[in-house]
Symmetry: C2
Subunit: 284 residues, 2 copies
């Protein structure tokens, strides 16, 4: 792991990191924020923030205010990238909603993507190893996961698939039922192939019904009622997750907020609520 920049922010430090990934077989960038730590002897929890389509680790670091609100609660923040970059696959840069910047947090099984597009294992395994090995101040057993849009889907999906791994989960405008919307159909179809039973393994609306029936949980979601990807394009379908959760032990705390769109202005406006949600559950 190489630290390429060390930036003072909100009394703490943002580390820009690069490392060779075994899962994507490419150089991956990660941003890691460490707040000002009062007691050096204590390890601190962290928030794993998964970004949306087209984003690098920098977008949310600069615009979401997650660093500011995390710093107030003495939480670290880890912001991975959204796909391999420069894998050298033909067509990888042709679409903004597929390929580069659009890894969709799955392990690809379809050629030619399966060599590099393994963002599920990259996030779920390698990011945790990277933090364990290089940032001993962070307690990786105390992780809250969140994200925006494709990253909101990623956060919910990761949480549902990994019982006990994440202590809290929230999402901003998540793609909640990817199997039945254009963004998901494009990415799942290319990365996972035509067998839709494979898609169900990553779709929050399918997962919430299939996972351990005794498992309880709650997920905080905000989405704007002027989010064009929701009300116009029907890409998000947050209501479907509420519907799918009926009859389970899961509480989906869906807040449709008036006037807000899909941008970081929306994300930053509700970041305080999300950080408090995670803080309360991480410190139980």
């Amino acid at each position: 792991m190489k630290i390429t920049a060390e930036i003072a922010v909100n009394d703490g430090t943002l580390y820009k990191v690069e490392h060779e990934s075994t899962f994507t077989k490419t150089l991956m960038k990660v941003n890691v924020f460490i707040p000002k730590v009062i007691k050096q002897s204590e390890k601190i929890p962290f928030i794993l923030y998964l970004s949306g389509l087209t984003c690098t680790p920098d977008n949310a670091s600069e615009k979401s205010m997650i660093i500011y609100f995390a710093s107030l609660k003495n939480l670290a923040v880890v912001l991975p990238d959204t796909s391999p970059r420069g894998a050298g696959i033909e067509g990888e840069d042709d679409n903004w909603d597929f390929g580069t910047g659009a890894g969709f947090y799955v392990d690809s099984i379809n050629k030619p993507w399966n060599e590099n597009y393994n963002m599920y294992s990259y996030i779920n395994t390698e990011i945790f190893q990277l933090i364990n090995d290089n940032f001993p101040i962070i307690d990786t057993s105390k992780c809250g996961i969140t994200g925006h849009s494709m990253g909101g889907y990623g956060a919910i999906m990761m949480h549902l698939r990994n019982e006990g791994k994440f202590k809290s989960c929230s999402a901003f405008a998540p793609i909640s039922n990817p199997s039945i919307v254009p963004w998901g159909e494009k990415c799942f179809g290319n990365y996972l192939g035509n067998d839709k039973t494979k898609w169900e393994e990553y779709d929050p609306c399918c997962l919430i019904k299939k996972i351990n029936k005794d498992r309880k949980g709650d997920i905080l979601i905000h989405v704007g009622d002027k989010d064009v990807f929701n009300y116009r394009d029907n890409q998000l379908r947050c209501e479907n997750l509420v519907e799918a959760s009926k009859g389970t032990n899961w509480e989906i705390d869906l807040n449709v907020v008036k006037g807000y769109d899909h941008s970081y202005y929306f994300v930053s406006s509700f970041m305080k609520d999300h950080i408090e949600w995670h803080y309360n559950r991480l410190n139980k």
Copy 2:
């Protein structure tokens, strides 16, 4: 004036505005944030934020956290652009630190720039007219002025030149003595010509000694000790303003903050302090 976007953020609204300027003879963009107003009968003060080299109104709107902290104090925020754009002058787009994105907040007297590059009057006159005519909720007699880098210089210079116009002034990493540093020499030389007495009319270190001797004031400044434009390139010279203020009634509250650079990570980290500085003076 045309509103091109209306974005919900931090309980208020960010208006993206375009208007034809009589001073720059170009279409100018401005961002205006109006917080959630409780008492509709009361006008509210505003912060005028001048941006740095290369910036549009969007950079600070997205990254400086000024909207968040202003919203907490019920302050409006006005964010103008940093130069005319598309004036059609040969060479206007050739440099990042001169021409487009680098109006340097002066009224040019040198051809060919004097037709359009009149950012001093644009900010000092036209922006106030625009707000008066279109945002009656804002009390333009209650303005605090601030800015970053070139905009920090602009804020201090505007405040010193206009007794009584601004109720408070602060700056982030301001170019404090532009007459003697490369950025200032390039812009002043081109916009104002070779007669350096013309440059002094815009240089905070010259102005603070020459203005009304009885006039009192205070200016809050933060600058990072890892700001390469300061410690390496000597472009800022904030200490020169402290030195120039000796023997005057002006207090320059210069804070050299450890570890911080020149980026919006730095600006956002001290925005809370600056908004409180303005709030206290605007509500006297």
